[in-house]
Structure formats: structure tokens, C-alpha cells
Symmetry: C2
Amino acid sequence: MLAEIITIGDEILIGQIVDTNSAWMAQKLNEEGIRVKQISSVSDDRQHILTALAEAASRADIIFITGGLGPTKDDITKQTLAEYFNVKLVLNDDALNNVLNIFERYNRPLLEVNRKQAEVPENCEIILNNNGTAPGMWFNVDGKIYVSMPGVPFEMKYMMEETVIPKLKATLKLPVIIHKTILTVGEGESFLAEKIADIENELPANIKLAYLPKMGQVRLRLSAYSDGETSLNDKLEEFASRIVERVGHNVVAQEDIPLEKVIQNYMTDKGLTLSVAESCTGGYVSHLITQHEGSSQFFLGGAVTYSNDLKENTLGVKNETLYQFGAVSQETVTEMVEGALRQFKSDYALAITGIAGPGGGTHEKPVGTVWIAVANANKTVVKKFTFGNKRLQNIERSAVAAFFMLITLLK
Amino acid sequence: MLAEIITIGDEILIGQIVDTNSAWMAQKLNEEGIRVKQISSVSDDRQHILTALAEAASRADIIFITGGLGPTKDDITKQTLAEYFNVKLVLNDDALNNVLNIFERYNRPLLEVNRKQAEVPENCEIILNNNGTAPGMWFNVDGKIYVSMPGVPFEMKYMMEETVIPKLKATLKLPVIIHKTILTVGEGESFLAEKIADIENELPANIKLAYLPKMGQVRLRLSAYSDGETSLNDKLEEFASRIVERVGHNVVAQEDIPLEKVIQNYMTDKGLTLSVAESCTGGYVSHLITQHEGSSQFFLGGAVTYSNDLKENTLGVKNETLYQFGAVSQETVTEMVEGALRQFKSDYALAITGIAGPGGGTHEKPVGTVWIAVANANKTVVKKFTFGNKRLQNIERSAVAAFFMLITLLK
């Protein structure tokens, strides 16, 4: 089953926004056995949209369209879809009620342009938008499915998960695909590939292994394509077990979850608490943790000690230590992590201090030098890392390294 | 002058990586007056690449191609370009020297696959790759320019900046496009559109206005297309001024930068410092601030006080206050912001406490209830917000609201 994604809007074409929607959609579709043939970003231009729709329909079975559904003049997706299908726009009552409810909830006056958002091509089923005023649209024309959704990521994601994917499953005869993901940290793709080469060679034709590397982590994803065979799941699990055993301590989870969620699940289970002391990561570690529901059950909080004063006042790092060894040093990070344990009264703590860059590096401590510590009441583990010269990457890699150190200490 | 971008490679189509290259290229090209007509992501498939090249060439004058230049079997861009132009692959001496130098520098044995990287279609000029082994290629065929570059972002960016853009400027007579962005916070797209409808109607044909909404913010972007008219910039500025005046205090910047950067620029300029006390945003506000180079000049740090204990110990929030009014209350947020000012000794502070959800809501304080405070030594401003029921959105919207309150207090 082939799909294409068309994103409509000048924002992507002038580079003002990065198209993250398409990657997210492609991932979800792949999990359901739908392959994305092409992703096209086109402008808010009638003729261009018409051409893109026709080209996509000539290659794929399902065409996803995002963007161009706002209330302003430059948004012309709906009119253009109506023209493409040669139908009229009609007011949809459910969509109108949704718009009315939203304006009532926020106590704002309803403008004519907002009312117009409830108009849709007459040959579509609408997909209710729980998070905004523009309805999604589902078309089934000449054996092809077209799905038009807003470009706002959370509106699109909600529609995909709640309505579109269940509806695709119900409408189409999709193959059954079972995935099993093994999350590894700390070893590169080619090293892992060499380590498990013989296991990979033994995989049957209907089980495939993909290496999905990302910032210090590699996900090993086994996908089994079933034609109703019931033993396939057992076979998948058997291969997964062999890989897990072979890869050893670099395996941190046997499901497709982010690293911080591995920590949350483990610590919540055991009733343990965590606090953090962040310098160069500047709140990123805390943010990763707290973006997940339920994190307050194990995460007490922490300090973002960007200045030396805060390192002293909040964490009790000694002035002499900062003076003698500097803020980016084994001594400082040790006092930071032990200060966090003491001040925040958590069972475990992690601390990070480094030079994120691009400025601030010296010959002895170049940009990318990062010290990380993890500790509990009995043990403190400290490690030095030398990452690259890109600020955001240094922040991300520091977070990944800290989580891996914490998981290792926990287990 | 129209361009198209074709990215080649399965990683994008299975959603493993987000295509950030295209947005970067589009931005650079726009600055030079080259409009990107379409961005297409296609697979490592010969026929698919050939079709994409022909379609792009039928619409645009310049075709940029990234990806598919690696040494492995699945990388077929070069062979396919040779087929497309009906020419042979030949060994290029400059490209070969570059490969040899790189292998010598890293002291690695040269394999046959690496030597092959110096083979290019005979009708191209090569673009030297200072950061890798795959050369870029420049073709000028039948009045169209084709530029093929590696997909590795820093290799591509270097080629674009050092060679491709200068060469385009020297080769083509490029038009001039000027953009002017007005960043607004706190009003919706349709409200703004109504407010400036008459100004928008007066825009001449060569100045366009786009509304770019994003999480509580709307960017108003004016784009002027010049054919050498020198007064166009004045006209653009005049319309921008009228819009800024009309929209009023919701305008926070007259350039295209993130909110936290508006704060950084202003506070660094005035030599002011900031600290934060975050509860429900869990480090996100600190992270937004510290992702930018130079943030340590004004940002001292802060506390992520997820637990009540931390609110008391780190910020000095009174136990009675928490007990009597709860952690999500006007009283608590006031003590948090004043505690941050006192403990962290900053000129300004902001504090956020709320129920991010999806759990933890009550009838009186439903999920999405957020209290935000901003303060300096003389003034504390507190506001209550009622956002929705999505955790990540509540976190993002809280951050945007807090930044807007801080900007308002600063100015």
C-alpha cells in the first residue's frame, strides 16, 4: 500500500519552518505497513496544488495533505480540493458546532472568517478537530483515499491517531506487521551490525531488521510481516532475545520509548526519587523528564545553575572548588551531584557541567568538554566526555550520556 | 527565478530523519531572490529519481539535489544523473585528490568504493567537498542548472555558502526579494486579519502579507518583490509601520526571531539579569533560553521545583501558603517569583506553576490552569491562564505566555 504526503504552504518553501509533520506521519504509516513513496512541499497556489494532487494520485493509493486550512486569504486548500473533485463547498453542521464551541469556551466573538472554516467540499466526510477550528477531511474518490488535515502539528497528530489511522485500518486490508524495538545506547551502528551479523543472517524472509541511529542511541527494530501465521510473534521474540543477550549492557529497553521514560518506569516502579543539577544543558534534562505524564511521581525537580553564584547558593558547591578547578571539572560536578542529593533529598541525582559552545572554550577545555556525575547515597560515578563544537548537539548528547549513566547505576 | 529541491533517500520517507536541509537551503535561496517552487523527497530508486528530475526541470530553472552520494550500494544518485543526462561517469582528478587527502589525514586504507566516489558524470563541474569524500556536482544543461550535493548537513551547507551561492550570483541575474517579519503574541490569526484588513487591502501587487501562526504567536511576514525599484524598501517599511502601530502592544519584535531571543537581546543590551522558577513547565523555559549562544550573559539559572518540598527549600515558599492555597495559586506563584529574585539575586524573575495534565486536575483547578508571575524589585505582575488538556501544549503555551508577560514588564 503506497501513500504520498503533500504539504501545502509557503512557510516550508521559504524555510521559515522545518517540516516535522511528514517524518512523524511517515513513521506512523510505516508501522501500519503503508509505505510513503514521495513527500512534496508545494506553495499556496491553486494550479500548483492541483498538479501535485494529480501527480500523487497517479503514483499512490492514499494521499495525505497537510496545511492551508487556516481562516485567512492565503489558505486555499479547501477551495482547491473542491475544484479538484469538481464539487461545491457546503457548510458542515458538526464542523460549525465545533467552531462555535471553541469560541464559546474562550469567550471570543465569532467572526465570519471563522464561520467559513466549517465549509467543506460536499463529497468529504469531516474529521473532527478537537484542538482547533479547521476540520480535517476524508475523501474516497475513484478508489483513492485523500486525507486533508491542518498543518498545526498537534491538530494533525490528534486526527491521525484518533481518527485517520483507525479508519485506514477499518477501510483497507492492511498487512499485519509486528514490531519489536530494542533500544541501545553507547555503541555505533556498524559496531552493533558486526556484533550481531550472524543472527541477522539467520533471520527468515518475513522478519526484517532495521538500524535506526539517533544521537548516541541506536534502535534495533525487528519487523515481522504476517500473513496470519500465529507463531510469527514467538519467532520475533526469540530473535529479539538473542540480540539482547549478544549486545549486553548497551541494551537499555526492549520497547520503543525514549531514554527518560526508561528511567521513569524503573524509578516509579521501585519508589525511587530523582533530582538534577544542570549547568550546560540548561534545563533540557529536566524538560525531557517532565514532558511525560506521571513524571512528578519520581522527579522532585532540581536546579539550573548557569552562573557560579547559583552553583554555590543552590547546590553548595564550594567557592574554592570553582576557583581552583573551574566550573567545568571533575571536582565541581562531584560537588554538584552530591549537593543535589543533599539539598533536594532525592534517592538519586545527576549533574552536568560543560562548555556547550560555540564560545567559552580554551586549549585545555575545548568546546564540547562535558563532565557528568550520577549518584545515590552510597556511590558517585563521574565521567568526562568530549563532544563536538555544535551547541545544540552538545546539549542533546550530554542528556543522552547522563541518562545512560543513570540507567547503568540504577541497574 | 524558480528553484526546486529534491532530497534523495529512504531515511526521510520512513520518518527516521527530519529533513532540515531543505528549510535551510530554502531560506538561503530566498535571501538571494530565488523562490523555491517545490521540495520533493524521493526514494533511492532509479526510475523515481529520473521522474522527479524531469518534473522539477519542467517547472523550475535551478534544481538542487541532496543525498544519495555515499559509497554504499543503495546510493545511486550519480549513476542516475549520468543516465538522465545520457553521459558517462569519469574519474575526476580533483575529486580523487580530495578523497586521497582525507584518507591520508585520517590514516585509513583507501578502498575501491572510496576511489569510486571521485567518479562523476562527464558533463559536470565538480564542487569540492571540504568536509567529506563525496564531491558536489554542477550541471548546466539546456538552460537549466542542476546542483547535486551530499545529504550530510554540514557538507551541504559548506558547499552552498562557499561555492554554490557565489556561483549562482555570478551566473544569473537574480531579482531582489525583501522580507520583513512582525512578531506578535496574544492574539489569534483571524483577529489580527480583521484588525489590519484595510491595510492589507491597500498592499500593492508586489508586496504580499502572510500570517504564520505558532502556539500563541503569529508572525506577520511582508514580502516585497523588486524589479529594481529602489523605493520598494521604503514602501515595505511604511506598510510594516502601519501594521505595527495598528496591532499595538501585541507586537514584540520587528524581526524573525524566537521570543526568548527578543528577551535575550533586550536584557543583554541593558545589562539586566534573569532567573526563573518553574513548576509545571519543568525546565522548558530554561531550555528555550539556554539553547541560544550568549544566554549566559543575562540568564543566571533557576529552579525546577516540581515537588512542594523544593518550592519551600529552594525558593522559600511558605509551608502555610502551600497548605492553605495549594501549589497552583496566586499566592504560591507570587512567593515563587519573589523567592527567585531574592535567592538568585537577579534583576528580573519569572515563575510558573500549573497543572500540565493530563492528570491532577480538580473541579476548581482543572487541567490547564496555570499561574504565571513576572517581577523585578519594584513590581510583581501575576496572571491566571486556562489552557487546554494537552500536557505538551500547556507547557509550550505557558512558556510563551510567560515570555510575553516578561517582555511587557521589561518595556
